[in-house]
């Protein structure tokens, strides 16, 4: 059942990284409830362009919830009110006629606003670059099932690997900690046999890179609620344990 609703948007507009930002109110009338949140913004932008105004800058790519490019703070909730959904998969049927919607970019010191709703998330790339890889022999692809992995282990690792790196966990965290992101990236490799070679070096390097850019976890659990992939904070606890083990094991590596 498709219907049309009229909305009032309060959107964060900022001309550049060092410019002063402000909220601008837009009337978004006649929005189909079948539109996704980003399609709603597309419609608003088309109208802005027709009126000769600058369109709202926001990021998006796959629009099917698997790339992690989109991400908006909608009414004070990362990715909006629907649980386990990225902004692109949030549909306007989650809103009612006459609603006021506040739209802000992710906010953290290490996520500087580039323009309007787009932020610089390279600090997360630095965490992955510090150790989010495994070493494999080059050449022909290895035979399937050459390395046995128990089903439960594979499932758990896959739960962590579901992380799309959108940054909602940082945005939702009152400490702007990136613990859930870093823990998911550490654990999806640490749990698997293929990830054991670099396990301790990876854990130490990724956690310490994370700490350069983000706050300290105080176990609120907001990240788990915000995560579009519903990654549990259990991975954070396991990473805390692996980190102390890494500090013990890595000190024996001389050279």
């Amino acid at each position: 059942m498709s219907a049309e609703i009229n909305l009032t948007l309060k959107v964060w507009r900022q001309d550049g990284p060092s410019a002063e930002g402000r909220f601008v109110t837009y009337e978004a009338d006649g929005i189909s409830t079948d539109a996704s949140f980003l399609e709603m913004l597309d419609i608003v932008n088309e109208r802005l362009i027709e009126a000769g105004e600058e369109p709202i800058v926001f990021e998006s790519d796959c629009r099917e919830g698997i790339c992690g490019t989109c991400g908006l703070m909608i009414n004070g909730q990362a990715h909006g009110p629907q649980k386990g959904t990225a902004t692109c998969q949030l549909h306007m049927r989650s809103f009612s006629d006459g609603d006021h919607i506040v739209i802000e970019p992710w906010r953290a010191t290490s996520f500087p606003v580039l323009r309007d709703l787009a932020v610089d998330r390279r600090a997360m790339d630095a965490i992955v670059a510090a150790g989010g890889y495994i070493s494999v022999n080059t050449g022909a692809a290895p035979d399937a099932n050459l390395t046995p992995v128990p089903k439960e282990t594979a499932d758990t690792a896959f739960d962590a690997a579901a992380c799309i790196g959108c940054g909602a966990c940082v945005a939702a965290c009152p400490n702007s900690a990136a613990q859930l992101f870093a823990a998911a990236k550490v654990q999806h490799l640490n749990l698997l046999p293929q990830g054991q070679a670099e396990r301790w070096a990876r854990t130490e390097a990724m956690v310490e890179t994370m700490e350069e850019f983000f706050g300290s976890c105080t176990n609120h659990g907001e990240c788990e609620e915000a995560c579009p992939k519903e990654i549990p904070i259990d991975f954070i606890a396991w990473t805390n344990r692996d980190y102390i083990k890494a500090k013990v094991k890595n000190r024996k590596l001389v050279g």
Partner: protein
């Protein structure tokens, strides 16, 4: 073959690297996850003290002589091996170190988080964060200030003109019979219970104690501990106010000393 790994270009870090790398295991404390470990471990020590302290204080309900003897027993601990009060002092020093580390780690981690965080001018919704988790930075200092008052009141006797050293029943009943003091104890011990509720659950996560076998029990343990501490500790000001704990202005220790002196006279 040499491989050039260049670092991803990023915004400037919010946390500068430590000036000097300390040797293992002190370098663990130079990291945020390491500080959370220290906070969790010192939290266990402090929580252990709080539970024992509350249970010990229940001797107040047995009577003035019994709590006095309990206090003397604590001073006598380990006297077969060590001079009197040495073991008690060893435990006190351990607690002071744990308390100092707990406060220092909390302070430096808070500073790090405040530097990393940016406000949402449009406001934000909390879904998982509860009252306890969001007030840790308030309940902590409240407990610290209260602890200072509590020691000054009942250990050093600064605020109590009728203070008698070594007579807990008399001192508790004299101090807590004042309504403002009773209110202060009730407020501070409520803050303590709120702090323990989040701290206990948080400790499991920080120390990596996480397993599907017992995860569902962690919140119950946190609520149970906080509840027991709350009920036990609030009972003292309430029962003093209700007149259940009342020394009628007499001090059992003074009477004992007086009696001993009279005994010597005869």
């Amino acid at each position: 073959m040499a491989q050039a790994i260049t670092r991803v270009s990023t915004p400037p870090p919010v946390r500068s690297a430590p000036r000097a790398r300390l040797p293992w295991p002190l370098n663990i404390y130079q990291t945020a996850v390491g500080k959370k470990w220290v906070m969790g471990l010192t939290g266990i020590a402090l929580l252990g003290f709080i539970v024992v302290h509350m249970i010990g204080n229940l001797h107040l309900y047995e009577g003035p002589l019994e709590i006095h003897e309990y206090a003397e027993t604590l001073r006598d601990l380990g006297t077969k091996l060590l001079p009197r009060t040495w073991l008690l002092w060893a435990m006190r020093i351990g607690l002071i170190i744990a308390f100092a580390l707990h406060i220092h780690s909390a302070y430096s981690l808070s500073r790090m988080s405040i530097a990393a965080d940016q406000r949402y001018p449009g406001g934000r919704n909390y879904i998982a964060a509860n009252f306890a988790s969001r007030t840790m930075r308030w309940t902590g200092p409240i407990i610290g200030l209260y602890l200072f008052y509590h020691l000054a009141d009942l250990t050093w006797g600064w605020f109590n003109p009728d203070f008698v050293r070594g007579d807990p029943y008399h001192n508790v009943s004299e101090s807590l019979s004042s309504i403002p003091v009773a209110i202060l104890y009730i407020v501070a011990n409520t803050a303590l219970a709120v702090h323990i509720f989040h701290g206990t659950w948080s400790m499991f996560q920080s120390l990596g104690l996480n397993s599907p076998r017992y995860n569902h029990l962690r919140r119950y343990l946190a609520a149970g501990l906080a509840g027991i501490i709350l009920v036990g500790n609030l009972s003292f000001p309430i029962f003093v106010q209700a007149g259940v704990i009342d020394d009628n202005g007499r001090s059992i220790v003074e009477e004992l000393q007086h009696g001993a002196a009279e005994g010597e006279d005869h």
